[in-house]
Each structure stands twice: as structure tokens, then as C-alpha cells.
């Protein structure tokens, strides 16, 4: 994968070098920030590769405004202070036009303000913390420069809770990891359930890399839970599924989206079967765009499976959305691109959906609830959990105008 990319980069460099007198336009610099090393790097790398793929496609087709897109990738290591430092470098030194990325909600919260202050749009394409897009809401701020193409927590939490209630479960146990991500999700879940008049029978916590989930599960079991809502990322969610099998306790499990990570599928094995979670994207080739995306991804990065498909797809789409906005703004100035994003005239065909006015000045989340489906783990694959979704897989779910 390395060599082919290097070759590509070299070819591109040569091409631009020779064509330079003719084109003469500077490339458009776009920051890409995420954890490419460390614990959450599988999401970061999938996102980055999705972004690379899209940028490559756009550049092949002549770029934007006659200029090439140049990605400035920086590893934020999933650490707040590094994320903040990366943000400042991208803003002040690299002078990027916009930035895509953020896997970890904490990093987004620590780093976004630099973009906001510099009036540079930033599109969160994986991080889900609800507060992310509300950090700089009017009237405290004139304009909000933070956008998102992932399904935020309140939305996911609502879906998870509703699904549990709809299936007739009364006694809900919540398990969440002790990170920012898990705890924000747990808060959203509890709030939503409270609004529905349901009080969870157990609310438990687990740590990243925990070896044993016995205590958490026994507490839930002792409280008489008949369903588990789990907020965490792949490996630990898998440990929960395995722990339940060990204790011989079988209740349905509804999780946040990362149960679609390959690590969950691998580690949980058959214990993971039947676990459902909200998904914006399921690795199927029902639409031409999806087929070309998946084929392109597999071929370019020499894999037969995206480590974290949702992150890859959302990353890919975020580039097209940004490109469309720059094109519409006819400029790379931050405020103009932001304005264009908030009022996109053209439809943008992405992998997750076809975006039709995805953002408005008041709503900076591209994903609405109707666009998210439940995926289900089945024999090592993520499939549609519901038959009607599977039947409509080929139908593009477009954002509801009324939502939010």
C-alpha cells in the first residue's frame, strides 16, 4: 500500500511539476487530524484512508476551482494536548482552508476552538459527542464553524433506547466505558430514558482494556436487567459479549456504533451474533457509489475489508461535502466556505447518503435519525438488522428537513 501510494504521489508530483507553468494554481490545503497511532487508531486510519481516497478521486478529475486538494495529515494520537497543538499548527503554520477529522470527542473539544477563532471550518467525520457541534452556538458566537457527518450521541442514544423499549424490555442496564465517549453517551442515554419515564436498573462503567467484565455483568444481572445498552468501542464491547456468554446470561445487547468495528466481530466471535447497533453505513454494494467506494478502497489500500467501515465512509463523504462547498463559495476563505456549507445548492452524492442541504445555519449535523439504520452482527458480518431496511438498502435515505 505504501509503495503504490508513494508511486502515485511521485507521479502526481511529476505531473504537477511539468504542468506547473500551465496551472500555476496553489493546491488547496486541507487538514486531516485523527489518531493514526494508539488505541483508537483503527478508526483514525480508516477515516484517513477514506479521506485520501476521495481527495485522490477529486484531484484526478481536475480538483476544485482548478486547484488540487493537498491533504495535510497530522496524528493527534488521541490526546487532547497533541490535538490542540496539531490544530494550531494546521491553522497558523500550514494555513489550511478547512480541516476534516477528529475521532475522539475529547480531542475535538480541546482543539476545535483554534479553528473557530481562526474562522476555519472543521468537519467532524467520526467523533459523536453531542456537545461537539454545540460548542460555539449562536448567540455566544456569531457563527459556528464546526460541522459533522457522523451520527451524534443523542441521536444514537435515542435510537438505542427506543429500540429497547419498542422490543418490550422494561429493565434496562447501561454499561459504558469510562472515557469521554462512553460517559457522554451514558449521560445522553440516561437523559433520554428519563424523558421516556424509564429508570435504568443498573448503570455500570468499564475501563479500556479491562480483562474481566464479571462485576459489571453480575450487577446488571442481579438488578434483573432484561436488556443491555452498551456504550463503548469494539474490543471492550466484545469483552461484554464474551463475559455474558461466560456467565451463561443471555439478554439482548444493543450497543453504540463501534460494535461494527472489525475488532468486535473478531473478538466476540459467535458470542457477538445478534448484537445490534446504529449505523450510518453498512458495507454493501447496493448503490453504484457504494460499490465504487468499496472497490476503490479495497484496491487502493490492498485490504478486503475496511477496519472501521463507518469511519471510512464518513471520512470519504466529508471530503466531497467540503469540495462542493469550496466550489460553491468560489473561494477558499473560511467564512465563505462556512456559508456555503450552511447552504449547499447542489446535491452531493456520498456513500452514506446523497446530501441535500445537509447543513443549515442552525443545524450543523448532516445525519438525521431517519438516515441511521440498525446493523446486526451475523456470522462475522454486519447486516441490516431489520428486513425492511435490507429491502430498502438500495434506496438513499435523505435527511429529513424537519429534523432538528
Amino acid at each position: 500500500m505504501r509503495s503504490s501510494l508513494t508511486a502515485l504521489a511521485a507521479a502526481l508530483a511529476c505531473a504537477t511539476a511539468f504542468a506547473a507553468p500551465a496551472l500555476a494554481a496553489d493546491p488547496i490545503k486541507i487538514g486531516v487530524t485523527g489518531p493514526y497511532t494508539g488505541g483508537s487508531s483503527s478508526m483514525g486510519v480508516s477515516m484517513r484512508d477514506g479521506v485520501r481516497l476521495a481527495a485522490e478521486e477529486i484531484n484526478k478529475n481536475g480538483g476544485v476551482l482548478g486547484r488540487q486538494l493537498q491533504l495535510v495529515e497530522r496524528d493527534d494520537e488521541g490526546k487532547n494536548e497533541v490535538g490542540a497543538q496539531v490544530a494550531q499548527e494546521l491553522v497558523n503554520k500550514e494555513k489550511v482552508v478547512a480541516t476534516l477529522g477528529f475521532i475522539n470527542t475529547g480531542v475535538a473539544l480541546a482543539a476545535q476552538r483554534f479553528y473557530q477563532e481562526a474562522e476555519i471550518p472543521v468537519i467532524n467525520n467520526v467523533a459523536t459527542g453531542t456537545i461537539i457541534t454545540n460548542q460555539f452556538n449562536p448567540p455566544d458566537y456569531d457563527n459556528n464553524y464546526v460541522f459533522r457527518t457522523s451520527a451524534y450521541d443523542v441521536l444514537q442514544a435515542g435510537m438505542m433506547a427506543d429500540e429497547a423499549i419498542a422490543q418490550g424490555y422494561k429493565k434496562i442496564a447501561i454499561l459504558a466505558d469510562s472515557t469521554n465517549y462512553g460517559q457522554l453517551g451514558r449521560e445522553d442515554l440516561e437523559k433520554y430514558l428519563k424523558a421516556k419515564g424509564v429508570k435504568p436498573v443498573a448503570v455500570e462503567k468499564f475501563n479500556i482494556k479491562d480483562v474481566d467484565m464479571t462485576a459489571q455483568l453480575l450487577k446488571s444481572q442481579a438488578a434483573g436487567a432484561d436488556v443491555i445498552l452498551a456504550y463503548g468501542i469494539g474490543p471492550e464491547l466484545a469483552q461484554i459479549a464474551n463475559g455474558m456468554a461466560k456467565l451463561g446470561w443471555k439478554v439482548p445487547m444493543i450497543t453504540s456504533w463501534p460494535a461494527s468495528m472489525q475488532s468486535f466481530i473478531d473478538i466476540a466471535g459467535t458470542n457477538g451474533n445478534g448484537v445490534i447497533m446504529p449505523q450510518t453505513f453498512i458495507e454493501d454494494k447496493t448503490l453504484p457509489k457504494r460499490k465504487s467506494f468499496l472497490d476503490g478502497y479495497y484496491a487502493t489500500f490492498k485490504v478486503n475489508k475496511i477496519p472501521t467501515p463507518v469511519a471510512g465512509a464518513q471520512g470519504y463523504d466529508s471530503v466531497y461535502l467540503l469540495a462542493a462547498a469550496i466550489k460553491q463559495a468560489g473561494s477558499t476563505s473560511g467564512p465563505k466556505v462556512r456559508a456555503a456549507l450552511e447552504d449547499l445548492n447542489s446535491k452531493v452524492e456520498g456513500v452514506v447518503t446523497t446530501y441535500d442541504k445537509p447543513f443549515t445555519p442552525k443545524d450543523h449535523n448532516a445525519i438525521s435519525r431517519n438516515m441511521v439504520v440498525f446493523g446486526k452482527v451475523q456470522d462475522g458480518k454486519i447486516v441490516y438488522a431489520k428486513d425492511e431496511d435490507a429491502k430498502n438498502a438500495g434506496v438513499v435515505r435523505v435527511k429529513e428537513k424537519a429534523s432538528n
Partner: protein, 684 residues
């Protein structure tokens, strides 16, 4: 043979040249001026907010690392908990804002105070252990702090973290005025605040390490036992060092919270601690410039590694340097040329490796690890240490004051000797048991004041054990030790700590020389004089007149003591560089600095040449003549016979004889113990 006072004076004229210390001081001052000018001018030359913020972060890290250097560099302890302390400082400031809307200034004070308190909390159990144990305790502490910050949601907002508004350094609206430097200047207020904190930290650290506190820190690193026996409680001074270090970590943390304006629990983990430690060693321990360099490196490193072209250039430079260094080593046929080959080859190989790589991000941590290894192997004294070795004028002046020190007359004996028939020291039925072995078995000992009391016996007879019981290093299993000081009733010594015993007037030397190796002869004696300093830590930090007076007096006295033992000309030589005989004498001088009533000499003549022994006996006699009681353990029988007024003989933990020197010499039991008998041989 008895060396008159003129001999040291003579020696002083022909003394080896003392390092040009004045220049070291000058370089330090020049560096300080450069730093101030650089910090003041930087934001006006480089206006990019990015670089200004980068410098702020470097300065904040430098504050912490300067503090860490006190623990790592001066006291030689490895702390893996400083990221935790840093986090406490940050949270102290952030929580005060979250809960009480208290701003930057209160936050800074709280950061220092709260973190120092936590440092104390950690230090009290942790510093009873050392080495790997300490490393692990501090590591556990850091982890606990992280868990608590994460869990105490009511106080800390849990994993969500705390967001802070832009810091308000000076609020002119309170007095109804506009900031005189306008809006652009306001943006720099925080920058200048951080710079001021950094400079203040440098001054404070400088003063502390040059005070008796700093000397105690270095002493306890070089020889904890000797340190305790000089009346400087190792434990207490370790705690001091740790708390000072924690306070600076807290200051850095509070500044960091207001600089990043967002704190969250996961920022203060193990990796940050490793970074800090790397910065300390890489920059160079025991210096002010080192932490600054180290901080700059660790902050800039991720940025440099993110840019592949920059990495390639760097790798190219490193490769070129490696070629030059190795080439030079071979041309000059240096001894270490073979050992340089491997690192040289590695440095060379690194360059093509970076060319092959499309991005270095994935191998960032490997590069980081290699850097640590490189520092540990080839740069153990850091960049500053390396430069000091190559460029002698950069070496620090040894705690200043190298001007000719006049030896003041009353070198010895402030407590005054005593005479009379009542014993000064009484040991009653002392038993010291190690497992099944009784190293001392109901030994009685009475030492009359103003005498030299010999303690002899074959190897393993319990002489050194007795010494250790007397000085509190061992607590006797049974029996009592008491010392008749002054006119009061005798004071019990058993059960007291070594430093308490030392302060009550019992000084000692060691069988294996236990000098503070990296300190000069003068500083060694100054550690012995530690008890004469009344000044507090605040005196040291503020540089009060009292502190300066005490230092002046102590130095004059230390010189007098050095002259007394004939080392006046070697005052500025590091103890490890002294000849062996001189080291023995220096130990005696250091012990005398304690103003002892009783001096214990543990085989002072071991390994000395004949002229050295002559000098030694003369000095011991002078000490006795000054009224100090001496207990002498010695194998050289002529020394013992020539000096001792009374001799006790130990064998297998029993006292087998006691009396005048001649008397004991002819005692058949003593002869048997020394020459052996069939029975004794069988027992061996």
C-alpha cells in the same frame, strides 16, 4: 612529621589550578540575559500565534522539568508520577474556575498549594523506599490520580473535562482604564506571564540548589548513610525536594490549564511522565539550561516528526555528523572508536530509511524510543553535560565564592570538650541480633571523656556493628546506649535516628569511604556544617541577609576545618578526584564540622601509606587535644598502641578484654583471638 599550619599554606600556592569558576558564572549570566532578551523580543519578531503558543508550552514544560530536575538530578530519585502532579495543578486551577469562577491568579496560587500538598501526601509513604520501588509507587500514584479525576464527576466534571475562557491576566476595567498596550498587547499578556513564571522558577531553583538545601539533596544522592550521619535527615530532605518539585509541577499545571483552556483526565498519563524524564536527561541534569533545551525538544518533536521532508533533512544532518564524529575518532585513533561504530552505522542507516518511508507518523514512537536509548547510552549527562565536557568554560563555578577564603581561627570545638571520670558514652548490655547470629552479645562499654578509646578485634568480631549501633544505623535488639552531654543527665541514644544522634554530638567516618563524590571538598564539609544553618527554605528562595551571612560564616569555618586536616589547597576539588589518603582526611574533616563531642573513626588508616598514617595520627591527636573524645577502630596495631588511652577487645560479639594498651596487648585471650586456637579454627 607533625605538619605545622604553614604546610597547607604552602600547598595552596602550588595547588593544581582550580577550574576557572568565574567564567562559568559569567556564562550563566550571559545565558540569562540572552534568555530574557529572547523571550521579550520573540512575539514581536515572530507574530504567528502558533509559534507564540508553542513557546508558551515549552516554557510551561520547562517550569515542570526544572522542578523535576531537583528530584531526578539533585536527589537522584526517579519519579514516574510527575504527570499526575501536573494534572493536579491543572485541575486545581480549572475546578476553582468551574465551581467558584475564580480566575487565573487564584488558580496559580491554588495550583502551587494543592499540588505541593499532594506532593507531600505522596512523599511521606513513597520516599521511605527508593530505586525501582519508588519508581513504581510514583507510577501507581499517577494512575490513582487519573482514576480519581475521571471518577469524581461532581468536582472535576469527569471525562468531559473543563473548558476555560481566555485568561485574564490584568483586568484594567476594574480601575476603569484601558490596557495601555492595546488589544494586540493584551493577547501577549499571558505569554509574558508565563515567561515571568519561567524566569522566577529559574531564580528560585538556582537559589535553592545553591543553599544548604541543595547541598543536602546532592549529599543524600551520593551517600544516604553519610548524609544521615552528618545530621541531615535523608528522609526529610527527600520530602523537601519532592514538595518543591511538586509545587513547580503545580504551577506548570495551572498555567497549562489556562494556556490550553481545556483540561481532561486523559492528558496526564504515563507517556507524559516519560516525556518529562526524557527532557530532563536529554537536556542535562543539574543545570538550568538543560531543562529549557529538553522542554523545547519534547514539544517540537511531534511537529518535526510530522513533516517527512524535515525528518529527511534532519536524518541527513545526523548521518553527516555521525560520519564526521566516527571519522575523526578513527583519524585520531581514539580508544572509543570501535564502540562508536555501531551507533555511527545506525545514524547512517537512518537516513536512507527515512527516504524509503512515505510517512514517519507510524514509526513516531519507535523514533521516540530510540531517542531515549540514545540518551541513556551516549548522552547520560545530556546535551548540557556533553557541552560542559567539551567546552570547559561552560562548567559551573562550584557554588560560587571561590575568592580566597580566610580560615577563621576557631575551626574546632564549639561544643567544647569535657573531662572528668564519669563516662561520656555508656553502652549497657547491647545485643544486636541478625536472624540467628548475635553480632553483639551483651557488650558493655564505657568511654571516658577526652580520651581516645580503641576498639579492636579480629574481622567479624562486631566492631563495625558496634559503630552502627552507636550511630543509630542499627537499632539494638536489646540494651541501651547513652551519652552524657553537658550538665544534664545522660541522654539515651538507642532508638533514635542516625541524624538525631549525629545532631546530639556523635560524628563518624566510614570503613569504606562515604564521601559525597560529586561535591567539592569544601561542599562536603559544608554538609557537615548543615546544623549551623538556621535559615528556612524561604530564606534560601528570597536570598535574605541572614542566609548570606550564614553562608559566609559557614564557608569560612569550612575552610578552617579543611586547613586543620591539611586539605585547604584542595577545597575546590571534587571529592571523587581526591587521592585516597586525602579522602580519608576529608571524611574526618566533614565529621568535625558537626561539632561533635564524640568522634567515631572506623579504620581511618586502612589503605594509607606510611607518611599518610603519620599525618593521620597527628591529626587524631590534635582532635583529642581539642577535647573531643574519639573511639578508634583500627587494625594497625602501632596506630592503636600509639594513640589509645584505653582499648576494648571484641571477639564473636563478646567483649573479651579491656584496659590500657599494653595491658590488653599481653592478655592471653586477646592473643588467642588474633592468632587463633584449634577451637577457634574449627569454629571458622
Amino acid at each position: 612529621m607533625a605538619q605545622p599550619a604553614s604546610a597547607p599554606a604552602l600547598a595552596r600556592q602550588t595547588a593544581p589550578p582550580v577550574p576557572q569558576a568565574g567564567l562559568g558564572r559569567f556564562v550563566g549570566l550571559l545565558g540569562a540575559v540572552c534568555l530574557v532578551v529572547f523571550l521579550a523580543a520573540f512575539p514581536h519578531v515572530v507574530t504567528s500565534q502558533y509559534y507564540i503558543h508553542l513557546l508558551v508550552v515549552i516554557a510551561i514544560y520547562a517550569i515542570l522539568i526544572l522542578g523535576l530536575d531537583i528530584v531526578v538530578g539533585y536527589t537522584g530519585q526517579v519519579s514516574l508520577g510527575h504527570a499526575g502532579l501536573f494534572g493536579i495543578g491543572a485541575y486545581a486551577a480549572a475546578v476553582l474556575f468551574l465551581k467558584f469562577k475564580l480566575g487565573l491568579w487564584v488558580g496559580l496560587v491554588a495550583g502551587i498549594g494543592v499540588t505541593a500538598a499532594f506532593g507531600l501526601l505522596l512523599a511521606i509513604p513513597a520516599l521511605r523506599v527508593s530505586g525501582p520501588y519508588l519508581a513504581m509507587v510514583t507510577l501507581a500514584f499517577g494512575t490513582i490520580i487519573q482514576i480519581f479525576i475521571n471518577e469524581m464527576t461532581d468536582l472535576t466534571n469527569g471525562p468531559l473535562g473543563i473548558t476555560l475562557p481566555p485568561a485574564r491576566v490584568l483586568d484594567f476595567s476594574l480601575i476603569g482604564m484601558q490596557a495601555p498596550w492595546g488589544a494586540a498587547g493584551r493577547k501577549l499578556e499571558f505569554y509574558y506571564l508565563v515567561c515571568a513564571c519561567l524566569l522566577a522558577t529559574i531564580v528560585v531553583v538556582n537559589r535553592v540548589v545553591r543553599s544548604p538545601f541543595g547541598r543536602a539533596f546532592e549529599a543524600l544522592r551520593d551517600s544516604p548513610i553519610a548524609c544521615d550521619c552528618m545530621g541531615v535527615s535523608v528522609y526529610r530532605y527527600k520530602v523537601y525536594a519532592f514538595v518543591i518539585s511538586a509545587a513547580l509541577a503545580g504551577l506548570a499545571g495551572a498555567l497549562f490549564a489556562w494556556s490550553e483552556r481545556y483540561v481532561a483526565p486523559n492528558s496526564y498519563g504515563f507517556e507524559l511522565t516519560v516525556l518529562f524524564l526524557l527532557a530532563v536527561t536529554m537536556g542535562g541534569r543539574k543545570s538550568r539550561a538543560g531543562p529549557l533545551i529538553g522542554a523545547a525538544i519534547i514539544v517540537m518533536m511531534p511537529n518535526i516528526l510530522a513533516d517527512i521532508s524535515l525528518v529527511r533533512i534532519m536524518a541527513g544532518i545526523i548521518a553527516a555528523l555521525a560520519v564526521v564524529v566516527v571519522g575523526l575518532a578513527f583519524l585520531r585513533r581514539k580508544d572509543n572508536r570501535m564502540s562508536l561504530l555501531i551507533p555511527g552505522a545506525l545514524c547512517l542507516a537512518f537516513f536512507p530509511a527515512t527516504l524509503a518511508m512515505e510517512s514517519v507518523t507510524d514509526f513516531r514512537l519507535t523514533v521516540f524510543g530510540l531517542m531515549i536509548l540514545f540518551v541513556v547510552y551516549y548522552l547520560p549527562d545530556g546535551i548540557v553535560g556533553f557541552l560542559r565536557e567539551k567546552l570547559p568554560f561552560l562548567r559551573p563555578s562550584h557554588t560560587g565564592a571561590t575568592q580566597e577564603l580566610a580560615a577563621s581561627g576557631d575551626a574546632l570545638i564549639r561544643q567544647g570538650g569535657r573531662s572528668g571520670a564519669d563516662p561520656l558514652l555508656k553502652v549497657e548490655r547491647a545485643v544486636m541480633q541478625f536472624g540467628g547470629l548475635k553480632a553483639l552479645n551483651e557488650v558493655d562499654l564505657a568511654v571516658r571523656p577526652g580520651t581516645i578509646h580503641g576498639l579492636i578485634g579480629p574481622n567479624g568480631s562486631g566492631k563495625s556493628t558496634m559503630m552502627n549501633v552507636l550511630t543509630g544505623i542499627y537499632k539494638p535488639t536489646a540494651g541501651g546506649v547513652s551519652l552524657a552531654t553537658g550538665t544534664d543527665a545522660a541522654r539515651r541514644l538507642d532508638g533514635r535516628t542516625p541524624s538525631e544522634i549525629a545532631l546530639s554530638g556523635v560524628a563518624r567516618t566510614f570503613q569504606n569511604v562515604q564521601l559525597f563524590r560529586e561535591m567539592t571538598a569544601l561542599e562536603n564539609v559544608l554538609v557537615g556544617l548543615h546544623h549551623s544553618f538556621q535559615g528556612t527554605l524561604f530564606d534560601a528562595i528570597l536570598g535574605t541577609p541572614r542566609r548570606r551571612r550564614e553562608e559566609r560564616e559557614a564557608r569560612a569555618r569550612a575552610m578552617a576545618i579543611l586547613d586543620f586536616v591539611g586539605l585547604g589547597s584542595l577545597a575546590q576539588v571534587e571529592a571523587r578526584n581526591l587521592p585516597y589518603g586525602k579522602q580519608r582526611l576529608l571524611e574526618i574533616g566533614r565529621a568535625l564540622a558537626l561539632d561533635p563531642v564524640l568522634l567515631l573513626l572506623d579504620e581511618p588508616a586502612a589503605g594509607l601509606t606510611a607518611p599518610d598514617i603519620a599525618e593521620l595520627t597527628a591529626i587524631i591527636r590534635k582532635i583529642r587535644d581539642a577535647g573531643i573524645t574519639v573511639i578508634l577502630i583500627e587494625h594497625h596495631m602501632d596506630v592503636v598502641m600509639g594513640l589509645c588511652d584505653r582499648v576494648s577487645v571484641l571477639d564473636f560479639g563478646h567483649k573479651i578484654a579491656e584496659g590500657g594498651a599494653r595491658e590488653v596487648q599481653s592478655d592471653p585471650k586477646v592473643i588467642e583471638a588474633y592468632l587463633g586456637s584449634p577451637v577457634a579454627d574449627a569454629a571458622e
